[in-house]
């Protein structure tokens, strides 16, 4: 093991994460999680989503409280703009996942972070969703993430933290690779 004299605190409990990794290697069934959200239609394109329960470590789990999210579209889409657009939630998910990964990896590598800011931009040609041009996809053509990081480390070490964060990120994987999506209707 490496011996460090510097005390680094990014607020990430790395020993707990490493212990979890060790125990879940021995008990892979406990590693199977199921995340959930429920979404209620309000009016127009305004939807209200709730996140509270999830399944993991072999049983039902619950967040400390129920989180809620409003999604809508801007007024230029002739909507009420009661919340961020769903595609912006995807950007929020990607940025949050990568940034949390940066904090965790940096802690593990004994790098003190001072500030981290991720700016995410997704380019989308809405001719796709409007059905104007069938050669244009509905989703993002590309997504660009820009990290501005102030940390007590060299440029190479910071770049390595960001690269490792992408390698271990769930949302990065979800966005860069296809996922089977099953939609069922109950009336």
């Amino acid at each position: 093991m490496n011996m460090y004299t510097k005390i680094v605190d990014n607020g990430v409990n790395v020993p707990a994460l490493l212990a979890a990794r060790e125990s879940l290697t021995e008990a892979p069934e406990a590693a199977r999680f199921r995340w959930r959200a429920t979404c209620n239609w309000m009016n127009g394109t305004h939807c209200h989503s709730l996140v509270e329960q999830f399944y993991g470590l072999g049983k039902e789990q619950s967040h400390k409280r129920c989180f809620s999210f409003d999604a809508d579209h801007p007024e230029i889409f002739a909507a009420e703009d009661a919340g961020a657009t769903p595609v912006e939630y995807v950007l929020v998910g990607l940025a949050s996942c990568l940034t949390a990964g940066v904090a965790s990896v940096a802690q593990h590598r004994n790098i003190q972070l001072n500030t981290v800011r991720a700016t995410v931009e997704g380019d989308m040609d809405i001719q796709g969703i409007l059905g104007i041009d069938r050669d244009v996809r509905n989703g993002y053509q590309r997504i660009k993430v820009t990290f501005e990081i102030d940390a007590d480390a060299s440029r190479e070490d910071i770049e390595a933290v960001v690269a490792q964060s992408q390698k271990r990120s769930a949302v990065y994987d979800i966005v860069t690779n296809p996922t089977q999506v099953d939609v069922e209707v109950r009336v």
């Binding site: 390595a160 390698k167 690779n177 296809p178």
Partner: protein
């Protein structure tokens, strides 16, 4: 019922070694030095995988001066060259011929189970009973191919590196090579040179220049002690053992082969194969990051070599440090390939290999089907492994790397069978 086999009484021996490649033969040599009676069982001929499961142009990735086995070294006049497959077969065959190896070729092991005080080894030429078993049957027995390969359209030819020999055997048309370890890069390069359109799908990979500061990269990895690094000295041995082989090629020109070289030759780079939907292959959007990871890791490797050179007192100064150009990735690597468009006719799955333990009826496999072991000492008394990646040291899977492992495993085995008195005293003291 194979009643004939059941009725044949087993021949008895202290140790059975399965496999007559470099790992099995080196172990045999070390057991002979300790006067431990044993046999080497080989399904085909000596160096069988090298003979039958490699493509025509392949050369060793390590230079000739590193071609050595216990009691056997390279004696040719090109220490910095790289052996062709016939030369490797000669080298290993010469080793088997030079010592009196108790060798049984064309003897396929069909089943192994625990039996009183050891193991029963069933073969297509009768059973053996042994106290100790050394599994040296290789780490690259079975190509690992993603499940979606089975769902490719029927007119696309699928090939594994074990089946690939040369570009001439391929159907006319473009080729997708999946995998960016040494195998994938070498095959992609060769097929591209034959004049075909080639797409290379690259996931995580290990980039490495052939030469650095005027010497072969293997020289520096040897000199710095990196190749001797032990399995219990690395942070995460499970991860390290799964690393793809470095992007190296052995050529008379000592050429470097990396993704930039392939790009310059007209190979199209795409991300890891991620899915197959309605006849379209989907590639991951992570190509930029896997290339960045490999570039950063390469930089750390070269910096470690620079530091070592700085600290070492080398008579003649090596060439000045330089860094290879970062991997060039197009701004928009393609994410899809329509397999019905005729753009490619063949897919080569250079997606790795796994050992075959289907014949092993001893409960030592982990949930991934690999044998649980500690530096080659398996999780069952008297059961040993040889020749696996990073088994005891980083060099374990290289030709020259089996020597130290064979000595260590033989010492442990000798102590176990009690044939080595000194070792026995140490164990029971």
């Amino acid at each position: 019922m194979k009643t004939r086999q059941l009725q044949t009484p087993p021949r008895r021996v202290s140790a059975v070694i399965i496999g007559a490649g470099q790992a099995g033969l080196a172990t045999s040599h070390c057991l002979s030095e300790r006067s431990i009676d044993h046999v080497v069982l080989e399904r085909g001929e000596v160096a069988n995988s090298w003979r039958r499961e490699r493509w025509d142009s392949l050369r060793l990735l390590t230079p000739n001066w590193q071609s050595r086995l216990p009691g056997h070294t390279y004696e040719g006049d090109d220490p910095d060259g790289f052996m062709t497959m016939p030369e490797v077969i000669d080298f290993i065959g010469g080793y088997a011929a030079r010592f009196e190896v108790p060798l049984h070729t064309h003897t396929r092991v069909t089943e192994v189970h625990a039996a009183a005080d050891g193991y029963r080894v069933m073969t297509d030429r009768g059973p053996w009973q042994c106290r100790c078993l050394v599994i040296a049957s290789g780490a690259f027995n079975t190509p690992v191919v993603p499940e979606l390969a089975a769902a490719l359209p029927g007119d696309i030819h699928s090939l594994t590196p074990q089946q690939y020999r040369n570009p001439g055997q391929l159907a006319d048309g473009g080729v997708l090579v999946v995998g960016a370890a040494a195998t994938g890069l070498q095959i992609a390069d060769e097929i591209r040179r034959s004049g075909r359109q080639v797409i290379l799908a690259a996931g995580e990979h290990v980039r490495m220049p052939r030469t650095y500061r005027g010497r072969d990269i293997m020289h520096w990895m040897h000199a710095t002690g990196m190749l001797d690094e032990r399995y219990d000295q690395v942070d995460d041995i499970r991860r390290v053992r799964k690393l793809p082989s470095p992007q190296l090629i052995g050529t008379p020109q000592k050429a470097t082969l990396d993704l930039n070289v392939l790009t310059d030759r007209g190979v199209q780079l795409v991300g890891r194969v991620a899915g197959l939907s309605s006849g379209r292959l989907q590639f991951s959007g992570s190509l930029g990051n896997v290339a960045k990871l490999a570039d950063l890791k390469l930089d750390r490797l070269l910096s470690a070599i620079d530091l070592w050179i700085e600290a070492a007192d080398l008579g003649a100064q090596p060439e000045l440090p330089e860094r290879p150009e970062p991997t060039r990735i197009s701004a928009s690597p393609r994410l899809e390939l329509d397999l019905r468009s005729g753009e490619i006719r063949t897919v080569v799955w250079a997606t790795g290999f796994r050992p075959d333990y289907t014949w092993l009826n001893v409960p030592v496999l982990d949930r991934k089907g690999l044998i649980r072991h500690e530096g080659g000492v398996a999780d069952a008394p008297g059961l040993y492994l040889m020749g696996l990646p990073f088994m005891r040291r980083r060099k374990s899977s290289f030709l020259f790397g089996v020597e130290d492992d064979a000595r260590a495993i033989s010492e442990h085995l000798a102590a176990y069978v009690g044939a080595d008195r000194e070792a026995r005293r140490r164990v029971y003291a």
